[in-house]
């Protein structure tokens, strides 16, 4: 029986697009306009909702230039809450869900092809933070066994276990963050004295800091990755105070405290580049600066006008838009409600927070939801 949620695009065409994309990923290359045009045609024809969305706005043929590509309207992340946005005629094998919004509805990203996701995620991690494998990881995000629909847990599991062969301590329990387990894990890491990795949402890290727990210092060379997310309740720390507090609590240089930017509706991840790019270390050492993120070349980031959604020149602040080729099986054109500006020719962006009026969302809400149930 066919999956009614699945799209109607040919799996053979999807195979060809996927193979071509993997080639660009391996070469750390931007896909050419011809690739994007084929991907657009495939998704516009394979997903009825996407085709209708673009036709309603007068887009019925693929882009023939980079400017046309950037002008293509992107699907708002909210649309993932209301429609099955899948483009290939094949069974859905994974469903990643957003952590919820203040309106209570959860978006869902239906997947049938996770290879581009996994391949791209591994390459991006290795390029920005994972040149040396670390044997121990601590996750302040939910384990895939506990939350199989969490794309963050899926990614951490894949990078830590499948890519680096590491052991992961999942410190987010059914009752919330296990602070004692975090402290014990850090103590064990110090005993071994080998660099480790800690992944977590902003909210989880703030919970850890607010607990006042001692003994979180990590071995030299360790890295700490903040995956962002909004904080709804209580007083959020100023970003600059927050990074300094993390640095002091974990005994790490600000350069070793990085951040990852992605969302359930995407397959690719952006990372703060200062850990590998010495010319950008000043960004890390000035925590009051807005966070700078580098995308992989197959994920094009642009910024559009908050009112008209027209593309803005580099350097101007607006709403962040993604073209993520690793979303081969779903929708590559994703319109966020995040503010930012493009600050380099490679598409590095400064993330400036949520757009006014946008509802809070993000992986941080997972922990908040757990706490609200206690």
């Amino acid at each position: 029986m066919s999956d009614t949620r699945a799209g109607s695009g040919s799996p053979d065409v999807a195979d060809a697009l996927e193979r071509e994309l993997i080639g660009y990923m391996d070469g750390w290359q931007k896909p050419p306009i011809e690739f994007w045009a084929r991907l657009w045609s495939f998704q516009a024809e394979g997903c009825a909702e996407l085709g209708r969305f673009w036709r309603a706005r007068g887009y019925d043929k693929p882009p023939s230039s980079y400017n046309e590509l950037l002008a293509l309207p992107a699907i708002p992340t909210d649309a993932f809450r209301f429609a099955d946005l899948h483009s290939v005629r094949e069974p859905i094998t994974a469903v990643f869900r957003t952590s919820g919004t203040t309106s209570g509805e959860r978006g869902q990203h239906l997947r049938s092809r996770l290879r581009p996701y996994e391949h791209g995620a591994r390459l991006a991690w290795q390029r920005f933070y994972g040149r040396t494998a670390r044997a121990k990881w601590l996750s302040l995000a939910p384990a895939p066994q506990r939350a199989p629909d969490s794309s963050l847990g899926f990614m951490i599991q894949d990078l830590a276990v499948e890519l680096e062969g590491a052991a992961v301590e999942w410190a987010l329990r059914d009752t919330g963050l296990d602070v004692d387990a975090c402290v014990a894990w850090c103590e064990a890491a110090r005993q071994v004295d080998e660099p480790v990795v800690v992944f977590g949402t902003t909210y989880a890290f703030q919970r850890l800091l607010e607990s006042g727990a001692d003994g979180l210092e990590l071995p030299r060379g360790s890295v700490l990755l903040d995956t962002g997310g909004m904080k709804r309740f209580g007083e959020a720390m100023e970003p600059s105070e927050y990074r300094v507090a993390l640095s002091e609590a974990f005994g790490l240089s600000l350069i070793n405290i990085g951040a990852e930017y992605s969302m359930t509706e995407l397959s690719s991840q952006l990372y703060t580049p200062w850990f590998v790019d010495k010319t950008l270390e000043a960004d890390a050492l000035e925590p009051a600066r807005p966070a700078r993120y580098s995308p992989p070349p197959w994920c094009v980031v642009s910024v559009v006008d908050p009112d008209s959604l027209a593309p803005l020149p580099d350097g101007e602040a607006g709403i962040i838009r993604f073209m993520d080729a690793a979303n081969v099986d779903t929708c590559a054109w994703v319109q966020t409600s995040d503010l930012g500006r493009v600050i380099s020719a490679d598409g590095d962006i400064e993330h400036l927070g949520r757009a006014p009026g946008a509802v809070p969302r993000g992986c941080s809400l997972v922990l908040e939801e757990l706490e609200s149930l206690r």
Binding site: P76, A79, F82, A83, P356, G357
Partner: protein, 406 residues
């Protein structure tokens, strides 16, 4: 209709009042009813103010309010508001200096875009009673309230009123202003109300919140939609009388797409010669979220007419972005239970309901339970009192002050 796009000044309101005031048009019985309201309102005012204003006594004679301290007391109180720049439009610079003595009995009013008229009457009576008022207007949108306050000054009532703006994120200034105030009145969105509530923790001030309000319209024929368009255009969907949701009934319910197209045509006609509306911060995101729900939730979407107003037909959702330049539409539910369910997200927030066709009594009751207090014909949604009775009842100031001025 279009002349009402410009703000009304106090002098104009007073000039027009005899023609607009119910007193000029009602019969003896209604006059008596109104007099009873005046008495009740004055007694409520007495209770409200007796404990608030040092040196001011409100007599038990319900229609007369005596000021004991007079202007000198007022000036003394005002002098305690050190550090406040009272020039119109100037920003409050720096942190307010701490008061040497416990609180000056001031009122603090925080305005939303559309609220200066709602504020006017109470400001006037507080000024007359000798209570200084600090009015915070949205940044960049202080001119209209300034016009109102300037006219209060010209009437000799404005010496005690200061208009300020400050950045939205300066919660320290907000908290300090609240700490100095006996009464804090806030008009705004839920987020603003929450912000003030948080800043007022530990304060002894009385908080009066006026949250978002909206109105709805019911259209049954294509010809109705020209009138709906007029109701939309007059206040740019920002007022509590603005129709944020349109119910299709009768022939329109069968073809919502044609109804939206007809509405688009009417809005386009009105657009000519009208000023382009301006979006408030965050409005685009709120509208986009509602539009995405309509477009991907099985509804219809139109954009473009009258500036870039969005309007959408959605099977089962109301537009919750009250005060945004958007309009949601849906079929009028067949029974009162369905209507009750549809209106539940905006329970208590309805202001007015407009329809040319008579509404069934059960439907009327549901609208009333959701807060509606005014029922009128299409095209007349924005023709309420110029002083914008936000809560659907006469304001105390409206009952007392205008009587005496006239």
């Amino acid at each position: 209709m279009m002349t009402e796009l410009r703000p009304l000044g106090l002098e104009q309101i007073l000039k027009e009042w005899p023609q607009r005031a119910p007193l000029q048009r009602v019969g003896r019985r209604e006059l008596e009813d109104r007099w009873i309201s005046v008495v009740a309102a004055a007694e409520a005012l007495h209770s409200k103010l007796a404990g608030l204003v040092d040196g001011v006594e409100v007599s038990s004679d319900s229609t007369r309010v005596h000021e004991l301290g007079g202007v000198s007391q007022l000036r003394t109180l005002m002098e305690t508001l050190e550090g406040i720049d009272r020039r119109f439009g100037d920003e409050l610079a720096g942190t307010l200096a701490p008061l040497p003595v416990r609180p000056c009995r001031a009122t603090l009013s925080l305005l939303a875009d559309t609220s200066p008229q709602a504020l006017l009457e109470e400001l006037a009576i507080f000024a007359w009673l000798g209570m200084p008022s600090l009015v915070r207007a949205p940044r960049g949108r202080w001119r209209v309230p300034a016009m109102f306050l300037l006219e209060l000054r010209m009437l000799g009532l404005g010496d005690a009123i200061s208009l300020v703006t400050w950045p939205h994120d300066r919660s320290d200034l907000l908290a300090e202003a609240i700490r100095r105030s006996a009464v804090v009145r806030v008009w705004g969105r839920r987020s603003t109300l929450e912000l003030v509530q948080k800043a007022a923790v530990g304060s002894a001030a009385t908080l009066e919140f006026f949250g978002p309000k909206l109105s709805v319209a019911v259209a049954t024929e294509l010809t109705d939609l020209a009138l709906v368009a007029e109701d939309i255009v007059v206040m740019e969907q920002r007022g509590c009388f603005s129709p944020q949701h349109l119910f299709f009934d009768g022939e329109l319910a069968n073809d919502p797409g044609a109804a939206l197209d007809s509405l688009a045509a009417s809005l386009s006609e009105l657009q000519e010669g009208s000023p382009r509306p301006r979006r408030a911060p965050g409005e685009a995101e709120i509208i986009r979220a509602a539009a995405t729900r309509a477009e991907f939730g099985g509804g219809l979407l139109r954009t473009g007419a009258f500036g870039d107003l969005w309007y959408m037909a959605s099977p089962s959702h109301l537009n919750l972005g009250a005060g945004c330049r958007s309009l949601s539409c849906s079929q009028l539910p067949a029974d009162s239970r369905g209507l009750e369910a549809l209106l539940s997200p905006v329970s208590g927030q309805l202001s007015a309901v407009a329809s040319l066709a008579p509404l069934h009594a059960e439907m009327l009751a549901v609208f009333k339970r959701a807060g509606a207090w005014r029922f009128c014909r299409l095209g007349e949604l924005q023709a309420g009192r110029p002083s914008a009775i936000h809560e659907g009842r006469c304001r105390l100031g409206g009952l007392l002050v205008y009587e005496r001025w006239n």
